[in-house]
Every structure is written in C-alpha cells, then in structure tokens.
Symmetry: C2
Subunit: 180 residues, 2 copies
C-alpha cells in the first residue's frame, strides 16, 4: 500500500505499466536516512523553504568520509528516495491546481523515478551526519546523495513557472471579486 494510491482524479493519466515492476535499468544504494518530525504525509509542510524546522541527515558509517569539506558549504542539495510514492501517474491533477499537469511540470513525489531534490541550509555537521533546514519529507526517508550548491550555476532568480503564475493570478482575481 502506498499513501498516494488513490483512484484517478479527473484528467489524470496512468502509464500502461508500473515502473516499479519493470526490470531496473540502474540500481541505487541508500546511503543514510533523513530524520524529520513528520510521520504521515498529511503532517508534512507544503514545501521546505520558509519552514525553519531542524532536520537531521544520518549518513551511514561507510559513507561518512565523503562528508569532508561539506562543512564549508552554506547550502546543499539533498537527493532522496520517495519510498512511499506510486510511480505510474504520468499526468496528475493536484488538489491545489484543479487542472491536470504532466508529472514533469510538477514537484510531486509521484513520478516514474521518485527521486526528490531539496535545497537545504546547512546548520551543523556532526560525526554521523548533518543538521539542516528546508526539508518537508517524511521521517526515515532514504538518502541517496548530497551535493554542494553553487550559486553561480544553480541559482536562477528569474526562473518562471507559467502554470503556477496563472494559478496565483486566478486566485488573486477571485479574491478581488469577493471584495465588497
């Protein structure tokens, strides 16, 4: 059972197969676990940035030498495996959007390869891992990778996501309309 295992909403499209049941083209190893206060999907904050909750990233002993120099980074990418997400919904209708979008235009955990990425602020480096801010994932989420965040290549302040801007514009219009 997965927490996303719902019937299809209007407009949603499932793949004709489940990627989780296909022979894998490549294999991942879990290198640790992310510890957060959120035990159920419904408890998770809507997105990481803006919430100041401290979370810990436990890195398995074999992989800890890989943390050398990470303490010099202010921000990191974490890649992790959304282990509870179904993988076969290729077009989805998020409740907040009301219309259907392709999974590649969404940051939903439900996607053919449920690898999530988050930009986090590094708060502390401990013997067994990291303390960070900016996560919104479930407790015990398997960790795949940690990468340094380079502002020169990774920061694009002018980036736009049109479908979400449309949604915000629509919400503002509705608010205006409700004014007396």
């Amino acid at each position: 059972m997965t927490f996303d295992d719902h019937d299809l909403r209007p407009g949603e499209i499932a793949l004709p197969f489940n990627p989780a049941e296909r022979p894998a083209d490549a294999g991942l190893v879990f290198i640790g676990r992310i510890r957060t206060p959120w035990q159920r999907r419904a408890d998770c904050p809507r997105n990481g940035k803006g919430n100041r909750t401290l979370c810990t990233v436990e890195v398995d002993a074999d992989y800890r030498p890989g943390l050398r120099s990470v303490e010099t980074c202010s921000h990191l990418y974490l890649l992790y495996w959304m282990h509870q997400a179904r993988r076969d919904l290729i077009v989805q209708t998020p409740a907040f959007a009301g219309v259907a979008h392709g999974c590649f235009a969404l940051r939903t955990p439900v996607r053919p390869n449920p690898v999530a990425l988050s930009v986090v602020e590094l708060v502390d480096v401990r013997a067994d891992g990291l303390v960070v801010r900016g996560l919104d994932c479930l407790d015990n989420t398997p960790l795949l990778d940690i990468k340094p965040y380079f502002a020169g290549t990774d920061s694009v302040p002018e980036a736009r996501v049109g479908w979400r801007e449309d949604l915000e514009r629509q919400a503002n219009t509705e608010t205006d309309r409700d004014k007396p």
Copy 2:
C-alpha cells in the same frame, strides 16, 4: 571499463566495497536519453552554465504525456544517470583542486549513486522531447527525471562553497605574486 577508472591519486579513499555490485535498495528506469555533441569525457565543457550549446532531451514515448505544462517553465532540473562513472571513490582529489575533498562536497560524477542534476534553460518543446541549454554531459546519457525549477525555493544567490572560494583566493594570490 569506466572513463574514471584511474589509480588512486594522493589523498583519495575508496569504499571497502563497490556500490554498483551491491544488491540495489531501489531501481531506476531510464525515461529517455540526452543528446549532446560530446562523445568523450575530455570533450565535455567544464560546467553547463555559460555554454550556449543546444542539447536535446529525448523522452521515450510512454513518458511524453508527462511533459504537459512543461512548456510554461523557463528553467528545469534534469536528473540523469552518469552511466560511465565508477561509484567507489568516497574522497577524491580533483586535478583542479589539488587537495582531497569528500565526494559530497563535489559535483563529480563519481559518487555512490551517480545521479547528476543540472539546471537548464528550456528553449523548445518538441513532440519527442525538449531542447535545452546548460548541459555538459556525454551524448546518450540516460535520463531519469525532469522537474520544474521554482525560483522561490530553488534559487539561493547567497550560497557559498568555502573550499572553492579558498581555491579561487589562492589562484588570485598566485597571480598577484606573478606580477612584475
């Protein structure tokens, strides 16, 4: 044989096992291929941003419905599988750095899970995929995922990577020293 399969450089540390030979904790499916002009590692640009080369992202037919609304995004994350990278070097001494850093402080393809991420500018959406700018990977690199880039959560212009700043400072000092 892998293109990164060199003897250990001074300071480098290998894991006591090869993650590629471990039973996988999770399996990935390749959803397409990235087509670039670079056939050999030595031909690849040093990093994607700043180079204006157009690359194409071929998405396999089954997954193309997932592209709906991607055309409204100005920038995307691409996740891809560095299929030629070895996975067992946990501390590495990049030629440009001269000192050893953990793989999690580096963007090297050599890491326990060789999943690369790049921020790209979306130039065009075609029936079978995307045209983008900002990649530096080998031709035929397997594609894992496409995600929208949200400036509000993904852009951190103030992010710092201390070990690289030290390196740049050192390079500048050496240049100063060489002045007549």
